[in-house]
Symmetry: C2
Subunit: 425 residues, 2 copies
């Protein structure tokens, strides 16, 4: 394909005229397309419809608890056992939460802000800094920003965050209190942390005694093309005596129904006990009937894996459309690079410097909503204005095909405008 | 009945011998009785069993939302409408929470601790004081203690907290930031705030601009003997321009299933908007399917009222046992005063000064667990060591009869010991 960056000014201008025509054609169509959020499609949700109709025939748990009544702060043993099997974390280190792991992450930050950890100074009283691998998840950044914690960009590599930089900052600066990670199929790049990265995190030398690794393993079982195995940070941290440093998050939100799933967190023996003390003041425990419903639907880790195979097949179909379009429309153009994730929910693309916002703006005017440019960076500030997150799950395949056509046209038009601008400077 | 306080020393000693014999008899029985927590009985829970088995046939809400998917931060319109009908609060002022209003209360305190309200100084940076009507709810006090807020005891009267004292403290001390109330069938006394009390709270003159009334209307529909009408603080606060001061809490935990109900909070237009902003960072919204299940079970406010009639009948049976035993065993003894609540979950008794702990200790040694003496006061410190909360809902009627016999014996023994101690001083 044509290398756009090698074209002459007149060639670019001719291309611009062509692309503008194409763009105007889309604009006239009055489209209403959305690739902005990692929202499951109806067919993904249908896979879990039994949860809507399966009665709870027996509300007494295996431990003899009436799950309709008060009692059990940290989750019924059935669901704790299921999570333990699935993620290979001891049940004693697990606390089951409500319908959203994001809520558990927020509350974990709030807890550290107010109380510190195991006797340390509350983070709210310090110039707390959090390491943020970028691009990353906008809602994580929103939480850090909410608490006024300074976010430090850590560039992502193919094996996870730049660990040299992480090690240096964690070791030298006692204000660096943590790092927030999506270690498997990262949001948005779909990068999987290598065994070495996970081990280096587990044995990190930190100036802050109460350094925490917010381990948001949201896509732990969301394999699409190929199953990638993530090293068990929990096991490794035990080896290095750092397990109180880990706060592990997971939920079934993107497995069954978003907003009606079951979340969990886990930490080392000491810190999980401290969390439980605060947890016991904050809540009487979370919805045990929802835990039971979710357990009854899966029965064991194998049930989850089988379910995720079906879900992965649906997602694969969508990912194929996105990746094939990018391949056929943009390979060799030098206008875009993109990741080819093996799982997760997103495809992450990098435009020429300074073209992400303009692409998103053009798309929006055409009726295609993309994730806001910059959203994948702390403070909404992508230093290169280059990253766009594509979320292919929600649209139908027909919509997705059209959305990708629109996207490619907008991207090309924004890029050509930029190249013309540079030529005529 | 004999006035114990008028007996001579030798009469008291004879009585003590008799009571000790009775007490030892109970002790030998190896009882296992519990009147400690406001936990519903199996027959109360059975009233809601349809929630366990009713399928969700239609997951699309009246607003066309797929309740299985992401979306809707503040609750589906069905359940907001139900709460609005039931409590006479505009839907626009309501945010629906998770399974527990306690969690919403905790988070509300945390939010004020970290952020203040509408631009005020965060409470965590101040010498914050909270007015606590006593006796009160131990979990409220645990939350205030968790955040290091100083609790100030406000004596309860038959019409609610001593409003002269509340008005004086709120007006004179800018560190006094709020009051935490169970305004209807208060925990533990079952006291209902009078119209005048509610109005005085609504128009309270406060030194703190960001004064909050934590209005935990947990027993809003928990009538047992007689329906008591609570003045609408929301309406009154609008009249006085103070509605941002109210944070109103309610849940269906003690209506359907504890731990699987739906909670809500409400506040004035400005403050509810501020809460929503933080809420939107903290969560993706709460379990919409549980909201739908709860709504489907009741359909409207009338459905809740009809359900609560049945639930009240079950509770009435238990309350009768407690109150009749107290009447027959202790009227005229001058050893105990107690409340006769028209609703709620508890009977609150007041022993002679210094006899509550000893009564609870004696009962425990006999196999009867009562709410810890002191628990109904901030810091677990009942200045008169006099109040005991009796929670009659959970035991069976047979157990409850026996438990009350044990209680009366322990109370008498503790009192007689105290009277003998005074006589022989």
């Amino acid at each position: 394909m044509t290398d756009y960056t090698a074209l002459s000014l007149s060639e670019l201008k001719a291309l611009k005229a062509e692309l503008t025509k194409e763009y105007e054609k889309y604009k006239q169509k009055g489209l209403n397309l959305d690739m902005s959020r990692g929202k499951p499609s109806g067919s993904q949700l249908d896979l879990s419809n039994d949860i809507l109709t399966m009665p709870i025939d027996n509300y007494i748990t295996e431990q003899g608890i009436d799950s309709r009544n008060y009692g059990i702060l940290d989750g019924i043993s059935e669901i704790k056992g299921l999570f333990s099997q699935l993620l290979d974390i001891p049940t004693k280190n697990i606390i089951v939460g409500g319908n959203s792991s994001l809520n558990l992450i927020y509350d974990s930050f709030a807890r550290l802000y107010i109380f510190g950890a195991n006797g340390s100074t509350p983070w709210g009283k310090l110039k707390t800094k959090i390491l943020c691998p970028v691009p990353g998840y906008d809602r994580h950044f929103a939480i850090c920003e909410e608490f006024g914690f300074e976010m430090i960009n850590i560039p992502m590599t193919e094996t996870g965050p730049d660990m040299d930089m992480v090690e240096k900052l964690a070791k030298e600066d006692p204000d660096v209190k943590g790092i927030i990670c999506v270690p498997l199929y990262s949001n948005p790049d779909g990068i999987c942390y290598s065994d070495e990265t996970v081990e280096r995190l587990a044995k990190l030398e930190t100036a802050a005694e109460d350094f925490k690794i917010f381990w948001d393993n949201a896509y732990a079982v969301h394999h699409v093309y190929k199953e990638t195995k993530l090293a068990n940070i929990f096991e490794l941290s035990q080896k290095y005596g750092t397990s109180d440093r880990i706060i592990y998050f997971f939920s079934t939100s993107k497995i069954t129904f978003p907003g009606s799933g079951v979340s969990m967190m886990a930490s080392g023996d000491n810190y999980i006990e401290e969390i439980k003390k605060h947890f016991g003041v904050q809540t009487i425990g979370h919805n045990k009937l929802n835990q039971l419903r979710t357990f009854n639907f899966f029965l064991n880790a194998k049930g989850v894996i089988a379910h995720m195979k079906q879900l992965g097949d649906i997602l694969k179909y969508k990912f194929d459309i996105v990746l094939n379009k990018l391949d056929s429309e943009l390979t060799g153009t030098n206008l875009l690079t993109w990741t080819k994730p093996n799982g997760g929910y997103f495809v992450s693309v990098f435009t020429l410097e300074g073209c992400a916002k303009e692409t998103v703006r053009l798309a929006k005017e055409c009726g295609l909503v993309l994730t806001k440019a910059g959203a994948t960076y702390p403070y909404g500030n992508d230093p290169h204005d280059s990253n766009i997150r594509i979320a292919p799950s929600y649209p139908t395949t027909v919509e997705l095909n059209e959305a990708m056509d629109v996207f490619c046209t907008c991207l090309k038009l924004a890029s050509v405008n930029k190249l013309i601008g540079e030529e005529t400077k």
